[in-house]
């Protein structure tokens, strides 16, 4: 039994949750020394003690025993992560990702899902051209909005992992093919708008295609050029110029504020993405950000100025239902219905309490799965 592993995991989970040692040992009714010995790997605690600690930390006891994983092909720019707590949050995200990824690949394997990564040979193109090419590959019409980005990116053989973490300015990251990926990880923290989450997927897709050599764990500094290219790719992937102009012409009779809101609703992008495109196309000047906020407040009585990136407020914002990532659910459903996994295992993979998992499986019977 690796007591250092156990202690390290408990320590990480405690710090991520913002507890000090005293919070935990007092609530778990164990002595300071005993708790300290556990964290430092100096003792092998009884399971009953670990259960108490898990309850205080609101953690799954299983996670105390999981061996950490090292990703070798990862693009996670963390130069803004300074504190020990944030470093541990990053570690926890990666541990959870590793568990999720193992389960995802195992589900694929047992149901014989052959989906592979399609875009390995796309490179050396400027972002706008690449965005066009990827859209073409996905058989999207030039003026077709992307209704379901998760499903679309899944079709390319890229997995989407959602995590929820209050980690400053971390919207997402990605894992390369060599680590059983590719995976795009998206932060769904409550203050990050759905529009931003959608954009993050497209942004990381850009990195996966254009910056393959940047998938190194030791690189933590953001490269301004790479970020700019990924942003350009994302904007043109979600909202190609041709259709942007076409949509704008269609609503040219509306007040200019409503034209922008109309476009943002169609393409599920932030209002700032629409403003940026208007600037890029020389259709407005750079004062548009200020003018939009002033005029929007006048028209809709909501102040956008008080909210700045990363947690900007979206006028006419998207709903959770605009951003659904259900691929793993589908794999689990197939595996469960073929009796390849237990109900309990399904609940573990989807991170649902057993009773909710039972209700979910019952609900699956209401509409039969239209398999191929």
């Amino acid at each position: 039994m690796n007591t250092f592993l156990l202690g390290g995991n408990i320590k990480r989970m405690r710090k991520v949750r913002g507890f000090n040692q005293q919070d935990v040992y007092a609530a778990s009714a164990i002595s300071r020394q005993a708790y300290s010995n556990i964290e430092n790997g100096k003792s092998e605690p009884k399971t009953s003690t670990l259960i108490k600690i898990a309850q205080v930390l609101d953690a799954d006891i299983k996670d105390f025993f999981v061996e950490p994983v090292k990703f070798h092909s990862i693009r996670f720019r963390t130069n803004k992560i300074k504190t020990q707590k944030d470093k541990m949050k990053k570690e926890e995200i990666l541990t959870n990702l590793s568990f999720w990824l193992n389960n995802y690949n195992y589900m694929k394997e047992i149901i014989n899902d052959k989906q592979v990564y399609y875009l390995r040979n796309f490179n050396n193109l400027i972002p706008n051209e690449l965005a066009k090419k990827v859209r073409k590959k996905l058989k999207l019409d030039n003026d077709e909005p992307i209704y379901d980005i998760c499903n679309l990116v899944n079709k390319l053989g890229i997995k989407i992992f959602l995590f929820n973490c209050d980690l400053d300015k971390c919207f997402g990251f990605s894992i390369g093919k060599d680590d059983e990926g590719p995976v795009i990880a998206v932060n769904t923290f409550k203050d990050i708008s759905i529009e931003r989450q959608i954009f993050t997927i497209a942004h990381e897709l850009g990195h996966l295609l254009m910056h393959k050599n940047s998938y190194k764990p030791e690189l933590i500094e953001e490269q301004v050029n790479e970020e700019k290219e990924a942003d350009q790719f994302a904007a043109h992937f979600i909202m190609p110029n041709e259709c942007f102009k076409k949509e704008l012409r269609k609503v040219s009779g509306l007040h200019w504020i409503d034209q922008i809101l109309h476009i943002k609703r169609i393409y599920k992008v932030s209002y700032q993405t629409v403003l940026r495109r208007l600037i890029d196309l020389n259709l407005v000047d750079r004062n548009i950000y200020r003018d939009f906020a002033v005029q929007f407040k006048k028209q809709y009585h909501k102040d956008l100025k008080k909210h700045f990136e990363p947690y900007s407020v979206e006028p006419e914002g998207m709903l959770k239902s605009d951003f659904v990532n259900d691929r793993l659910n589908k794999l689990v459903r197939i595996a469960y219905e073929k009796e390849l996994i237990t109900l309990n295992r399904a609940s573990e993979i989807l991170n649902l309490p057993l009773i909710e998992m039972n209700e979910l499986t019952s609900s699956w019977n209401e509409i039969k799965y239209a398999a191929n």
């Binding site: 399971t47 193992n102 047992i110 009796e339 996994i341 109900l343 309990n344 295992r345 057993l354 019952s362």
Partner: protein, 165 residues
């Protein structure tokens, strides 16, 4: 004749299923001198029952050694959940009967030569031992079918066949 001659260890689902359909099942098993156990980590999954209730139902919580938890937590490719595997290991190491309503877990246990028992077999056992009538057994079956969506018509036929044999 159906016999339970060793301790039973429940998985999480069967514990929840029986608790939802009739707590009396546990009482009848106790009356028939069946020793009932659940692993500590399985019990954590069962939010509906607290420790004193479990005690009243005469179900003993057994502590899992850290080594067992470590082994169970690091099985990457597994059809079983962490606590399914812990229950399986307890059954294997202590010669218990693993009681489950999950075919995948039962099949795994059988493949490893660990005795296992369906929830429906437990209902049949308490009927055979005159703790409940055949009508009551059918009622329990129907209740179980409502909460367990994997009970098929074939299973129902088999259950009724054995019940009226």
């Amino acid at each position: 004749m159906l016999q339970i001659d060793k301790s039973l260890i429940f998985d999480a689902n069967i514990l929840i299923d029986f608790y939802r359909i009739s707590k009396e099942i546990f009482k009848f098993l106790y009356d028939l001198s069946v020793i009932m156990k659940v692993s500590d980590v399985t019990f954590l999954k069962v939010e509906q029952i607290n420790e004193s209730e479990l005690e009243n139902l005469h179900i003993e919580i057994i502590e899992s050694p850290a080594k067992m938890l470590f082994e169970s937590a690091n099985r990457i490719k597994s059809s079983l959940a962490f606590d399914d595997y812990v229950s399986f290991l307890h059954a294997k190491e202590n010669n218990f009967i693993l009681s489950t309503n999950d075919k995948t877990l039962k099949t795994y246990a059988q493949s490893q030569n660990v005795d296992s028992l369906w929830g429906l077999e437990i209902i049949l056992f308490i009927e055979i031992n005159n703790k409940i009538s055949k009508e009551k057994a059918i009622k329990l079956f129907e209740k179980l079918k409502k909460v367990n969506n994997r009970i098929t018509d074939d299973i129902e036929k088999e259950f009724l066949k054995i019940l009226f044999e």
